[in-house]
């Protein structure tokens, strides 16, 4: 057994960086702060790879597959005798895989930001927040218990809030950050309730105990039920609600497109590669509980995932802000991962969906981070987010162009690129379990290829726009991460995930299912061709198509009016019909009652004070009447 306790440094280093950069950043100056933050990440990335290597290849397996290892654990807060919040490090295949994803992408983004954020006000602050985010995300990934996960879940939420609102003087960024935090916070409410219900019935927060097939969560499902579903199922649905919020699934997806107001490296790191897949990770983490104790919840996950992927893909086809297209694409791809988990079984080949989901998570992180960073380079060159302002850029940005193309090919599922392998596994898993969802995903695959290449062609081909000044290729700090990630997007498909990351830790055999793969490739190529026909040269074809489907286009362009619906609910219902009435009620009814008591007292006293008239004879009259009354009382009645 290898001692992994050094892995706690994964959390300590970025936390230290956060404090150093946050408290002393303005003294260190931008250059030093940036380098310090990046070198911290370099160490973390190195550590992650060492951990991954020694976990996957350094430990003897003895045919038992990969075991979960608690590398570090301290009690952070004792709640009840058997219920305590621990902070620790859990290493198992999925957490180790996530470590690689998070640290690699974060490292790339750090390097990229050195160039991208150059000269920005608050450069040190940016790196401090990035460190905070890395700390939170790593803490979430290695969490050995659900409460630590919740803690870091909240922390990634706040880092996301801070980074989206990085340009805090821009009202749209402020609004977006607020929206992101509140929507996810609402979802986290469900997560917390889920945790509480789960802990009430199982008396544990510990993942290993929870996912143990003979443990309290799974073996004890015969307990209380509510509306036909067992309490464990309910709790898992609530927990999933947190995942829906964080992973921007329908109907809590509305924050993700707006979150693109943040700096582009942030979008790449948080809103594409790492934080938004936390929901998928959460479900994967609790996967045995879902699959064995609450299959109904798993169905919900599958359908929510499938719907979100279709929904987002349709919207993505109509958007013109390149970052928003990518945001909807992210939502769509996460829908894929959710679907894969939803149709998966447990153990061996049944767990194909689980493996596929993790596989896709990994490859998606590579190519989506690449897409965002590429988009950042383009925005950096053109100073606009809108593809209508772009065109013919392939001449000016050769490196960006090639890397972007690789990412597009990968996401479209063109054979031999990473996305092809992982997407194929997902489709195969869907095909084995649910034909309907499988059909939906085929459609989404076509749409994905279409909108990605729509983006690609309108940016790099199409008619050449007149630019104010000639766009030029990004500096080296920005292109190196692009190249590294492009290698990842091209090659990671060859990693044998079925040997490493599986639902039960045991390797299983899986082959490329050509019966599924060939049609999906054809559909993808079809999408690319359509995009090529419509966007590679400037023509009025796109407008004609749009007007042919006018109503549908309008709805999709306006994101099916989800934002308006939310605005209606929050502004109209919550603000106008709850908060303001509550405030009014408080001022006028509750406080009014208190004031009324005071008023009644005062009025009474004003009445009573009239008795003291200052007329001495009145007093005398009352006095004498009193005496006479008492005399009569004493003499005749009381006697």
């Amino acid at each position: 057994m290898i001692n992994f306790s050094y892995s706690i440094w994964l959390l300590l280093i970025p936390l230290m960086m956060f404090f150093i950069l946050g408290l002393a950043g303005h003294k260190l100056g931008p250059r030093l702060s940036g380098l310090l933050g990046t070198s911290g990440l370099a160490i973390i990335t190195m550590l992650s790879f060492i951990i991954a290597y020694s976990y996957f290849f350094g430990t003897p397996k003895n045919g038992e597959g990969f075991k979960a290892i608690i590398a570090y654990n301290i009690t952070w807060l004792q709640l009840i005798d058997n219920l305590h919040i621990d902070i620790g490090v859990l290493l198992d295949p999925i957490s180790v895989m996530m470590l690689i994803v998070v640290s690699t992408v974060s490292f790339m983004v750090h390097i990229y930001s050195l160039g991208y954020m150059k000269g920005e006000r608050g450069y040190e602050r940016f790196f401090a927040f990035l460190s905070l985010f890395t700390f939170s995300m790593l803490g979430l990934v290695v969490a050995p218990n659900i409460f630590q996960m919740y803690i870091f879940w909240e922390l990634v939420g706040i880092s996301s809030y801070l980074l989206i609102g990085f340009y805090y003087q821009k009202p749209s960024a402020v609004a977006a950050s607020k929206k992101a935090f509140i929507v996810t916070r609402f979802a986290d409410l469900g997560f917390l309730i889920g945790i509480l219900i789960l802990s009430f019935y199982t008396k544990t927060f510990d993942f290993i105990t929870l996912t143990d097939p003979s443990g309290p969560a799974i073996a004890k499902t015969g307990g209380a039920t509510f509306m036909g579903l067992s309490v464990i199922t309910w709790s898992m649905i609530f927990v999933y609600m947190g995942g829906v919020g964080k992973s921007a699934m329908f109907p809590f997806h509305i924050w993700l497109p707006d979150a693109m107001e943040g700096p582009t490296p942030v979008s790449a790191l948080i809103h594409a590669a790492t934080m938004v897949v936390a929901g998928v990770y959460l479900v994967a983490r609790l996967f045995p509980v879902y699959v064995m104790a609450s299959p109904q919840a798993l169905h919900i996950i599958a359908y929510v995932g499938a719907f979100s992927s279709l929904f987002a893909a349709v919207i993505a086809c109509t958007q013109t802000d390149i970052k928003r297209v990518l945001a909807y694409s992210t939502m769509s791809q996460i829908g894929y991962m959710m679907l894969a988990l939803g149709v998966s079984g447990y153990g061996g080949h049944n767990g194909l969906g689980f493996m596929a989901s993790m596989f896709h998570l990994f490859t998606h992180a590579m190519f989506k981070a690449l897409l965002f960073l590429g988009a950042g380079a383009i925005i950096h060159a053109v100073h606009s987010n809108f593809m209508t302002d772009m065109g013919g850029l392939r001449k000016y940005l050769p490196i960006t162009h090639i890397t972007f193309l690789i990412a597009c090919l990968s996401i479209a599922g063109v054979p031999l690129f990473a996305g092809f392998f992982s997407k194929d596994e997902i489709l195969a898993a869907a095909f084995e379990h649910n034909k309907f969802l499988f059909a939906v995903e085929y459609a989404v695959a076509g749409l994905t290829a279409f909108y990605m290449f729509r983006l690609y062609f309108s940016i790099f081909w199409g008619k050449e726009t007149q630019y104010h000044h000639t766009p030029h290729e990004a500096p080296l700090t920005m292109t190196i991460p692009l190249i590294i990630l492009a290698l990842g997007a091209a090659l990671t498909g060859f990693i044998p995930f079925n040997k490493l990351v599986t639902s039960d830790g045991l390797p299983f055999e899986s082959h490329l299912d050509w019966g599924v793969a060939v049609p999906s490739v054809i559909i993808g190529l079809l999408g690319i061709t359509v995009a090529w026909a419509m966007y590679s040269k400037s023509s009025n074809l796109p407008d004609r198509v749009a007007s042919a489907f006018r109503l549908g286009y309008k709805w999709a362009y306006n994101k099916f009016y989800m934002d308006e619906l939310y605005l209606f609910i929050t502004k109209k219902i919550i603000f106008r019909y709850i908060s303001e009435p509550v405030a009014w009620f408080d001022r006028h009814i509750v406080d009014g009652t208190m004031n009324a008591i005071a008023t009644v007292t005062q009025v009474t006293s004003f009445r009573i004070r009239k008795f003291q008239s200052g007329q001495i004879q009145q007093y005398a009259f009352v006095y004498i009447s009193g005496v006479i009354f008492l005399v009569i009382l004493l003499v005749y009645i009381w006697r």
Partner: protein, 105 residues
């Protein structure tokens, strides 16, 4: 000695004086008249003291002395009262008791 005027006569007289005083005290508006009414009340009490002293304890003089005290106190009181009335007159240019009602609320 005890065969003279029955005590009831004195008492009736005192009662009439007393209530006349009370009535005057309550109804008169002039402060001087009110003071006079007060004197009537005090004197009615004096009559009672002396009558009871004479009829009930003929060999003691406590009641008589008490009356003397009351007369002395009443004189002092009248002096004080009149000086108050004069001051009131200076302040309000009236000695109508109804107009002197500052001491309220």
């Amino acid at each position: 000695m005890n065969t003279g005027i029955p005590i009831q006569y004195f008492l009736i007289l005192a009662t009439i004086m007393f209530f006349t005083g009370i009535y005057g005290f309550l109804t008169r508006r002039n402060l001087i008249t009110i003071l006079m009414s007060t004197e009537l009340i005090l004197n009615s009490v004096n009559i009672n003291f002396m009558a009871f002293n004479r009829y009930l304890f003929p060999h003691k003089l406590d009641g008589m002395f008490f009356s003397l005290f009351i007369i002395a106190v009443a004189a002092a009181e009248a002096a004080v009262a009149i000086s108050i009335i004069i001051n009131i007159y200076r302040r309000f240019t009236t000695i109508n008791v109804e107009d002197v009602d500052e001491m309220k609320y």
